[in-house]
Amino acid sequence: TQLLEQSPQFLSIQEGENLTVYCNSSSVFSSLQWYRQEPGEGPVLLVTVVTGGEVKKLKRLTFQFGDARKDSSLHITAAQPGDTGLYLCAGVIGNQFYFGTGTSLTVIP
C-alpha cells in the first residue's frame, strides 16, 4: 500500500477542457510537491506547497495543499496538448520523499 494515492490514474481529454488531479493520504507531510515527467526522462518539479490551505498558481495550473497537510490537488484550466505527461505528487517526511501512484494525462488536439 502506497502512502499517497492519486486519482485518476489515467485521464484523456480534449484540448480546452479543465481537469483536476487528486493526491490523498492519511499521513501528514511537511511539504508536498508536484512533478511532471516526460517519456524517457526523470520527473521535474512543478511546485512545492508547504502551508496547510496554501494555493499556488503556475500559469494555467493551480495547486492546493489541504488544510491538514494530508492531501493536495492539481487543477489545469484549458488544457493544451503540451500538458500531456505523467503527473506525480510527492510528500516529504523527514529525509524521505514519498511519491504518489501517478496520473497519466493525454490532451487530444
Partner: protein, 113 residues
C-alpha cells in the same frame, strides 16, 4: 540542469546475475536516493543516503544493496537479479534537509530475462 548522470541508461541481464547501477552527481548534494518506477506504482523508494557511508532502507529494499564511498557516487546493486526487478530505476539528489526539491537523473531501464 542539476548534474546527475546515471549509468548505464539501458541494460539487459539474465536472472541470477549481479548488476550494479551507478549514480554520479556534480552538485555536492548530501542526500541521494534510488527509486524504481513501475506502471501503477509511481516511484517507490529503494534506498537512500544522507552522507558518505550513511544509508538507510526505503519501502522496497529487499534484494537491493547500496554503497556510497564518495559524496558524488551512489551505487545500487542487485546481488542476484530476478524478473521482478525489471523496472526503470531513477536516482535523485537533494541538497539539505531544508530543501524541498529533489532533482532526478534520466533513469536506467533494466530488463531481467
Amino acid at each position: 540542469d542539476a548534474g546527475i548522470t546515471q549509468s548505464p541508461r539501458h541494460k539487459v541481464t539474465e536472472t541470477g546475475t549481479p548488476v550494479t547501477l551507478r549514480c554520479h552527481q556534480t552538485e555536492n548534494h548530501r542526500y541521494m536516493y534510488w527509486y524504481r518506477q513501475d506502471p501503477g506504482h509511481g516511484l517507490r523508494l529503494i534506498h537512500y543516503s544522507y552522507g558518505v557511508k550513511d544509508t538507510d532502507k526505503g519501502e522496497v529494499s529487499d534484494g537491493y544493496s547500496v554503497s556510497r564511498s564518495k559524496t558524488e557516487d551512489f551505487l545500487l546493486t542487485l546481488e542476484s537479479a530476478t524478473s521482478s526487478q525489471t523496472s526503470v530505476y531513477f536516482c535523485a539528489i537533494r541538497g539539505t534537509w531544508r530543501d524541498t526539491e529533489a532533482f532526478f537523473g534520466q533513469g536506467t531501464r533494466l530488463t531481467v530475462v
